[in-house]
Symmetry: C2
Subunit: 155 residues, 2 copies
Amino acid sequence: MPKIDLAKVPVQKGAGRYPKQFCAPLDGREKQALGNAAGLTQFGVNLTRLKPGAISALRHWHEQEDELVYVLDGELMLIEDEGETLLRPGDAAGFIAGVANGHHLANRSQRDALFLVIGTRTSEDRVHYPDNDLAYEYDGTSFTFTDKSGEPYTE
Amino acid sequence: MPKIDLAKVPVQKGAGRYPKQFCAPLDGREKQALGNAAGLTQFGVNLTRLKPGAISALRHWHEQEDELVYVLDGELMLIEDEGETLLRPGDAAGFIAGVANGHHLANRSQRDALFLVIGTRTSEDRVHYPDNDLAYEYDGTSFTFTDKSGEPYTE
């Protein structure tokens, strides 16, 4: 059945996989993986809710994966190297793989914001976090978070 | 600049590339290619408006490309082999590459419907149209529409 039953799609709260010391700003993030729920493997589509004060991710860019966000409700500040841009419902922004410009969304408003984030599922990737001592590598089978010297974070 | 200026994204009206005899049901379709506008190459994200009576595409399925639709406004009937399912704002449906179940959306309401359609950009693909004497092949450089016997449509 192609229609996705949203009520049955798990709501993932918080940062998920980041090393613990980086998680707090994402406590107010809730996401539902719509693409996964439909059995898709080539790209992800996450329906993401940010509570006031929460961010979508640490500011980052992907070496291999294109990304696009589309705002459904509320207001979000897009933050990247060039500065800040307010996004409102109906606004979209795209991030080309390999462009070394860290980006994320911050909910600085007083109410929830809702958006879709779409990202390719490549067989490998590296993710860079310009504001944090953090790097992420995925080799097709497992992923590792390291500090910028390459030392793995262990928890 | 990652934010997409929607006012500058061309609005593509009608069926586009189908052979002429198949185009009429798509006269009321308008789409803006958001992913292309952002320079993305790995997947497409089309913001699509269907006027009353219009369909999203001929009923079809892709051999190689995953697809997902997310309804933003209005009501759309999802039509596939198993029957019909009404989709409302916030509803989503996914279509796994290679699943031989033709699908499309029809606007049977009295007002416009708006949705996002996301699809992978694979290097090659074949598309099947169960209700029409039509097939589509893309080999990475050029595309061909043929009838089901393999005879190309020429216009």
